[in-house]
């Protein structure tokens, strides 16, 4: 494998022009951990950082004092040089509610907030979390109170969901069906479907049969209320998009050295290039190394077999078996990274080794920060 350029994390953190870092990647690879570790390291290097996390592991959240979703940044740590780390955990529903409250008169807001469809949309739409994370990022950035904002992205099934979700939600609200539902109201509140063509009459009939008349009514109320409020929904999504393209933004793609995660990382890197969003580099997290890499898997296995057949040095044989497994794993992980590196030779990469324990406190985050900065 050609050696990729090393990702210089400290240079990014030290550059005062860096205002937003987005950590993204497939599920479970270490996005939240990386985001928090970068935040701590930024603070240690004198910056005022806020980490917007989405789904921290419970013990990590507790150790950062994030026992509740409260949507406001809390001070986690003040470093010796005066740098600070703040953190907050995203409350998706509340963020959504706040957008409604900010854009609707109280009566209309009440109507929307109590509508069963709104409640369903705001608490379980699969893109809502992504959208709200981006919305919150936009709010934090626009407030201009933060020197450096680090965002952790939601645990989507795919790394790309978070780029697509705002657009999808926007498109959805602009969708043909929604237009049809709202059209009667706009035409002066005449009976729901009379103005529309026969095709829609058929649909309305089927919907009524399928869902019942009340559901259809709830739906219409919801859609027209939301439509009025969210005239600018798409513009909002676009504003955030532009923020992500700005030069002060740095995307850090996180992957584990496994096939699926590396493939996701590849897609993501290509996608960022298409969207002209600034990529800082790739973090390959949870990589296994061996302190005794001089003994290859093959030699180790042969030696173990030799000892076993002689019935000597049982313990050594067992240790060599362990080492064989470790070397095989390291080789496999290396292969999984090769594809990425040959496809994207210019993307800087840093490897972070797999700790034997989960990362659940500031000491652990500090250690990950060191590894991010130095590699291995």
């Amino acid at each position: 494998m050609k050696k990729p350029a090393p990702l210089d994390v400290d240079a990014i953190l030290d550059d005062r022009g860096t205002r937003i870092i987005v950590c993204c990647g497939a599920g479970g690879v270490g996005k939240t951990t990386t985001a928090a570790a970068l935040g701590l390291r930024a603070a240690e290097r004198g910056r005022g950082a806020v980490v917007l996390t989405v789904d921290p592991a419970r013990r990590l959240a507790q150790s950062m004092g994030l026992s509740e979703l409260d949507n406001t940044p809390r001070l986690v740590h003040t470093a010796e040089g005066g740098g600070q780390l703040f953190a907050m955990m995203l409350d998706m529903k509340r963020t959504f509610d706040e957008i409604i409250e900010a854009h609707a008169d109280p009566e209309r807001a009440r109507q929307i907030l109590s509508n069963p469809f709104y409640q369903s949309l705001s608490s379980s739409f699969s893109g809502t979390q992504e959208y709200m994370a981006m919305e919150k990022l936009g709010q934090l950035r626009r407030s201009d109170e933060w020197d450096l904002i680090i965002v952790d992205t939601p645990p989507s099934r795919s790394a790309l969901d978070f780029l697509d979700a705002p657009e999808r939600l926007g498109r959805f609200l602009d969708g043909r069906f929604i237009k049809l539902l709202t059209a009667p109201a706009k035409a002066g509140g005449r009976s729901a479907f009379r103005l529309l063509n026969a095709g829609f009459g058929l649909v309305a009939g089927a919907m009524t049969k399928l869902l019942g008349a009340q559901v259809l009514k709830d739906l219409q109320t919801f859609v027209s209320a939301l439509d009025a409020v969210f005239g600018g929904f798409r513009q909002r999504a676009e504003m955030t998009y532009r923020l992500l393209q700005a030069p002060g933004t740095a995307f850090v793609v996180v992957a584990a050295p496994e096939r699926d995660a590396m493939r996701e990382a590849s897609y993501f890197v290509e996608r960022l290039a298409e969207e002209r969003m600034p990529l800082a580099g790739l973090v390959v997290n949870r990589v296994h190394f061996s302190p005794a890499a001089g003994i290859s898997a093959a030699r180790s296995a042969a030696a173990a077999e030799d000892l076993e057949s002689k019935g000597e040095h049982e313990l050594t044989a067992a240790v060599l078996r362990l080492h064989t497994g470790r070397m095989q794993l390291a080789a496999r992980e290396h292969r999984e990274q090769e594809h990425f590196v040959s496809a994207h030779p210019t993307v800087p990469v840093v490897q972070v080794r797999a700790m034997s324990e989960d990362v659940h406190d500031l000491a652990g985050l500090h250690q990950i920060g060191e590894l991010l900065a130095s590699g291995a």
Partner: protein
Amino acid sequence: MDSRDTDWDGVRLHVVTGKGGTGKTTVAAALALALAAGGRKVLLVEVEGRQGIAQIFDLPPLPYEERKIAVAPDGGDVYALAIDPEEAMLDYMEMFYGMRRAGRALTRMGIVDFATTVAPGFRDVLVTGKTTEAVRRRAKNGKRVYDAVVLDAPPTGRITRFLNVTQEVAGLAKVGPIKNHSDLVSGVVKSPETAVHFVTLLEEMPVQETLDGLAELRSAGLPPGGIFINMVRESLLPQAVLDSAVKGRFDVGELTLGLKAAGLADGADAAAVAESLVGEVVEHARRTQIERAERASLDQADLPRYELPLLADGVDLAGLYELAASIRNQGAA
């Protein structure tokens, strides 16, 4: 057909959930093979639109159609179905109202897209509806068409909402056909014919999610199944050695001699190599200790447990049959 006792005799719907990436699809596929073994007919259902079943069985993408994809050990057939909510809705409208044309119109209008966006509950009721229909389906002779159905389900965080369809659509549709349909689904998923299995790894987050997911499942009155601990590594060293290694104690002298005897190193070099190998042992010992703690946390769940080995070369077809055999040997099927 053999008549061994298994832990899940009487269960016809096996729902497999777990944190993403723990091996839900793999375990669901292996379980389907294991259940089919000995001449049974099993349907493996996928709902997340990822074509995971096709990938794992090395097949081209599956259509929305039940088709035979594998033969189980000692005879027995595994069928597969990738459920597409849009197609499921068309089926549903046809079946209950003879309204396929209206259904097509709904699809064109983007209504399914709409419903799945604004109300995942609607989507879920379509998907679980199709699945439970397969569970209940009978042939002309009155016998069930499938001996068992295995559902590769959404992850732990979503499983209770997914199965608790009545609850989920209740807020949206208090009466009417959707409500009736969801009651029918509920009748199956809350019955003793259903078991919800959890796949986990011996790591903090998946174990925590399993326990949280299980509590949620229980409070919704849904029937828990077993816990499948996946990707278990065999421990090569005796427990006593591991116990002292965790505390940093290890007989480096003996290891040095062993390395020399094996011809891997000599002189001062042997001692240095031994030192670095000890680092590896200590790390392994720590890892094993954590795994033991995670196993102990799983005791709280109080459910039958099965352990599946980490396959060194990943999961290929042969590996899948190996996992299926392991599932059978442990009495899960």
